[in-house]
């Protein structure tokens, strides 16, 4: 039986987090009442003209820089013509031959193997309006019309659903780190068109390409790719041929279906947008943008391991999400105890975030409070278990660890007099373990230890108790 190889390319649309739209001053607002952020430009009224949003250009170029693209000093604008109710002008302003960013690459780890995926280009364009399907009609809301949208186009360089997922995850991380987009898929801020073809291993030319359009869920993209690759292979195995076509993915049935055949392909009639002059960028502005680029997740991971001495696992977990990583970064100036902080963030913090279904920005704890908490545990002021209690209170209510410890009476007792008294009582009342310990069974001291802790209602400092007991029994 022949072996087949899948080839996958992605066109990923990312909505940039500008304040206003791409070509007009209407606010970019998600979830507002329909048609309340609209103007002659974004609704395509007669005589209205587009003007480029400087911030969108900056974000698109920064995305390119973060993905290793070269930035075109001179880029151009084109019209892509097609009639559709979500496209107010019945053409989309986009970039055809001279996009802002060209060529780039993305290094990603897939199942423990480092792979490099090539990026062909990133171009700037505008979003469409939202169609709402109602009974017997469709309704159009133009609030989203004309918002800034970039398209990141990969080369056909991936070969599995895992590759595609790793690629998209990395893109999403970088967009978030770069402050380019929140990439909130539920809000449609990151959507991908997936191009899939299959060929017998060893064949040099690619198979016919099927495009699955406009998907925002990573899980569905993975399912769709897996389904489509299997489908194409089985068609070929049965001696059939693959038609170049556009398919959709039906998540409920878990299969793809034909949307548009090659014959019905659009003739987009691209031509230069006469309302916008070609855009020239200067070295100075590009240099300024470059200097503002943030540290990327990969660089952060390396720093966490090399400079903070964290295990690679911790570094990966902490950097997976920019908000978490930024929070961790905010603790660092107050503490050098990276590992205990990391433990709290990976453990208690994650648990509470999941349990309470909030994002880290919504948690009330200040980063310096966590630093202090770790210090207090380290100094033996409170026990580890008390530390967890304090953490939860900080998480819910904020405040300082000291005030919580005091209010809740959680401080450990290290006071010699009190400890002496508890230790003496424990030794006097439990001759048997004392005897066993002296006979050479060191574990027996734990029983005495437990008695002291019980007497102190958990507040005795275990280290100090142990030291005292040993001193008394060995002495």
């Amino acid at each position: 039986m022949k072996q087949y190889e899948a080839t996958i390319g992605l066109e990923t649309h990312v909505m940039q987090q500008t304040r206003t739209k791409m070509f007009c001053g209407c606010l970019r607002v998600y979830g507002a009442d329909a048609n309340t952020h609209v103007c002659p430009v974004c609704v395509g009224y007669p005589g209205a003209m587009p003007v480029l949003n400087r911030k969108a250009i900056e974000l698109c170029c920064k995305a390119g820089m973060l993905l290793g693209c070269s930035i075109n000093r001179l880029s151009r604008w084109d019209r892509k013509n097609y009639f559709y109710p979500d496209m107010a002008k019945n053409y989309q302003i986009t970039q055809a031959d001279d996009p802002l960013c060209l060529g780039g690459k993305l290094e990603v780890e897939v199942d423990g193997v480092t792979k490099v995926f090539d990026i062909e280009r990133i171009h700037q364009e505008e979003n469409a309006a939202k169609n709402i399907h109602a009974a017997g009609a469709s309704l159009v809301d133009y609030n989203r019309a004309g918002t800034a949208l970039m398209e990141i186009v990969s080369t056909p360089c991936m070969h599995s659903a895992e590759d595609a997922l790793a690629y998209m995850t990395a893109i999403k991380q970088i967009m978030q780190y770069g402050g380019i987009s929140a990439c909130d898929q539920e809000k449609g801020e990151m959507r991908s068109d997936v191009n899939i073809s299959v060929r017998p291993v060893g064949q040099s030319e690619l198979g016919a390409k099927v495009e699955i359009k406009n998907m925002n869920s990573f899980a569905f993209i993975k399912e769709a790719i897996e389904y489509e690759v299997d489908r194409q292979i089985s068609v070929l195995e049965q001696g059939g041929t693959i038609d170049q076509e556009t398919r959709g993915y039906d998540a409920e049935r878990g299969e793809t279906f034909v949307q548009r055949s090659k014959e019905d392909a659009h003739d987009y009639r691209y031509f230069p947008e006469p309302d916008l002059l070609p855009l020239t960028l200067t070295e100075e502005e590009m240099e300024a943008w470059r200097s503002e680029l943030p540290e990327l997740p990969a660089q952060r991971r390396a720093r966490y391991v090399e400079e903070l001495g964290l295990p690679a696992y911790d570094a990966a977990v902490l950097t997976a999400d920019k908000a978490t990583s930024d929070w961790f970064e905010a603790v660092l100036p107050y503490s050098s105890k990276a590992k205990p902080i990391s433990n709290f963030m990976m453990g208690e913090m994650q648990r509470l975030l999941t349990e309470k279904e909030i994002t880290i920005e919504a948690c009330k704890m200040m980063p310096e409070a966590l630093a202090k908490l770790v210090d207090l545990i380290d100094q033996g002021v409170i026990s580890n278990s008390a530390g967890k209690q304090v953490f939860e209170i900080l998480f819910d209510e904020g405040g300082t660890p000291e005030s919580i410890i005091e209010a809740k009476g959680l401080a450990q007792v290290s006071d010699d007099c009190a400890l002496e008294q508890w230790a003496d009582t424990a030794i006097a009342e439990n001759p048997k373990p004392v005897e066993e310990y002296k006979a050479g069974n060191p574990a027996s001291i734990n029983f005495l230890m437990g008695q002291v802790m019980k007497a102190s209602r958990g507040k005795a400092n275990p280290g100090a108790v142990m030291q005292l007991l040993k001193q008394k029994l060995d002495g």
Binding site: N35, V38, Y142, N214
Partner: protein
């Protein structure tokens, strides 16, 4: 000029342009536009060897707009202009094919 040679599929192009034509219009436009296309064939005689289209001007960065809020239209204006509206939206026939 040999006008026979230059012909477009008016029906197909009109469809691309989203204009319904009657057969009569198709026929009339066909002959009129073929004449025009035949006339513009004159461009083939121009020697374009060295000619490249130059950018007369290019926008510099400071001609872009800053990311500041501008004046939007009121919801009522959009609705009043729409030939059909409901639920605060512009109403169109049901969209079937994506």
């Amino acid at each position: 000029m040999e006008s026979e040679k230059h012909t477009m599929d008016v029906g197909y192009v009109a469809k691309l342009a989203a204009i319904e034509l009657t057969d009569q219009e198709k026929e009339l436009f066909q002959s009129q536009l073929d004449q025009v296309l035949s006339y513009v064939e004159q461009l083939n005689e121009v020697n374009l060897g060295e000619v490249e289209v130059r950018n007369e001007s290019a926008a510099s960065h400071d001609q872009l707009r800053s990311d500041d809020e501008g004046i939007s239209l009121s919801h009522e204006v959009i609705m009043a202009n729409a030939p059909s509206a409901s639920s605060g939206c512009v109403r169109v026939p049901k969209i079937i094919d994506q």
